[in-house]
Amino acid sequence: MMRLLEKLGFALAVLFLVSPAILVFLWMLSLSMKTELDNTAFPPVFIPNPPVWDNFIEVFSRNDFLKYTWNSILVSFSATGLAILIGVPAGYGIAKMQATRAAMLILIARITPGLSYLIPLFLLFQWLGLTGTLTPIVITHLVITVPIVVWVMIGFFEGLPAELEEAALVDGATIWQAFRHVALPLAMPGITVAVILSFIFSWNNFIFAMVLAGRETRTLPVAVNNMLTFEQISWGPLAAAALLVTLPVLLLTLLAQKQIIAGLTAGGVKGG
């Protein structure tokens, strides 16, 4: 009897913990698949009956949703790719030299509010005549992606046994060759974690594009926020747009939960 009660209590605790997440995401889904009449009904209609796709159709036909999706893809992939290109060797170098001060610098980047980079960079991009292109957005996203990649990779390379590379060095390999042909192939799981986290936090980022993007260069979060503030569109399409924006990262989280949990537990990294 005691055991049964204990089990029941535990099940309730689990339910209590996961229900806020379930409720919000299901409500998002429900809003996106109902007619405007059902969305503004009180008491609320919970299950779309029948489910409609009109809201999604409206999102794609209204404003340049596809263009903004493409912008988001370009920005997140470029910012992640560049960060991997420079961040993986940096993580390797810092791990090899045990350069704690360089690692501290990465932590400072983690502490600083994203907005504080924007004031000087905004002026800099104006002087350089880069406003109105995607370049400044990609560059500012490096503020998020580079620290994530370096941080994850330092931890990963520190955990690799040094014997294999040392053997390669004794055999006459240069340190670059030891990195390229010995350490790098071993580091693939770490790189996967770094790519996933850096992509997600770049995709989710709002503030950099909000300040720097023009009409043509908005990313999805900015476009969706504008729908709420300026376009006054109704709940159904708004929820549909919100769902479309966050769906890629939710799916990625479901698919790669092991890597994500490993990466986040190790570093407590978060963008912005």
């Binding site: 919000v24 009904a41 009180f42 420079i86 600083t112 907005l115 924007l118 004031i119």
Partner: protein, 298 residues
């Protein structure tokens, strides 16, 4: 492989260590240009009256003096501390509780854990939109829920008295998972021996938690506390999307104030001074927590 190899090793390794700098150079250039340059330039700008399109001139410490007398900024400070206090304490309690739950084995644990961490991975703007719709006083699902439980409806984000706690609720929903993950990582690394010893000595589960788990877990809890404090101070996306600092200025935190000064009123010099003070506040609180961490460890 004999004595000569061993003798040569240390010198050779040091030589290599220096050459590893080349691996760090490209990232170093990026960090310098997009992280350190902005810092230096912000300090420089904070000593100027700098308006976009209006030119600029040196004013010394005037921007800082203005901050001392700007009541709107003082309220933003107090509001940020109020928001941060709530948005740290609640996720810490729930996050530690969550970690204890997810540390036990139960059916569907993997799935439940993934669902639990979904909020922190979701796009902040997207979830903020859904919360905004849920807060609608007449048509929102939250007021329906309240009345269903027999409670009076709330004005949520539309009342200056409830707007901060409401935004805290969103923040708790959003970031409790990060606390949970860090503490869960700590729980996984705990040694098993003390628990067996305690069991032999006849300690209850609660005693074991209080006297073994909590002290061993303390370093991880402090790390989570530091990260959560910094993130709560920096909170921007959800607040900006949901209220934009309103109603009036009643949810205007330092970050929102900073944004408005810089990119709505284009007072770049003044906004730079806000950045400097804001950063000092973050560093002060983070160092205070780091100091606590050292004491906890000792």
């Amino acid at each position: 492989m004999g004595a000569p190899a061993l003798a040569a090793a240390p010198g050779r390794r040091r030589n290599y260590a220096r050459r590893y700098w080349w691996f760090v150079v490209p990232a170093g250039v990026v960090v310098l240009s997009v992280i350190l340059f902005p810092w230096a330039f912000t300090l420089f700008m904070s000593a100027h009256d700098w308006k976009i399109g209006g030119g600029h001139h040196f004013v010394g410490l005037d921007n800082y003096r203005k901050l001392l007398t700007d009541e709107r900024f003082h309220w933003a400070m107090l509001r940020t501390l109020y928001f941060t206090a709530l948005a740290v304490i609640l996720p810490m309690i729930l996050g530690v509780a969550g970690a204890l739950v997810f540390n036990r084995k139960f059916p569907l644990r993997g799935l439940a854990r993934t669902i639990f961490i979904l909020p922190m991975m979701a796009t902040p703007v997207a979830v903020a939109l859904v919360w905004t719709m849920m807060f609608h006083p007449q048509l929102g699902v939250l007021n329906w829920l309240l009345t269903w439980f027999g409670l009076p409806p709330s004005m949520w984000i539309y009342d200056p008295a409830t707007v901060i706690p409401t935004l805290v609720m969103v923040e708790v929903w959003h970031w409790t998972p990060l606390v949970m993950l860090i503490v869960l990582g700590g729980l996984a690394s705990l040694p098993q021996d003390p628990y067996e010893a305690a069991k032999i000595d006849g300690a209850s589960a609660l005693q074991a938690f209080w006297h073994i788990t909590l002290p061993l877990l303390a370093p991880f809890i402090v790390v989570a506390l530091i990260i959560r404090t910094i993130d709560a101070l920096k909170a921007f996306d959800t607040i900006y999307v949901i209220t934009q600092g309103g109603p009036g200025t009643s949810s205007e935190t330092i970050n929102i104030f900073l944004y408005l000064q810089g990119f709505a009123y284009y007072n770049m010099g003044y906004a730079s001074a806000v950045v400097v003070v804001f950063f000092l506040l973050i560093v002060a609180l983070a160092s205070l927590l780091l100091w606590t961490r050292r004491r906890v460890k000792a």
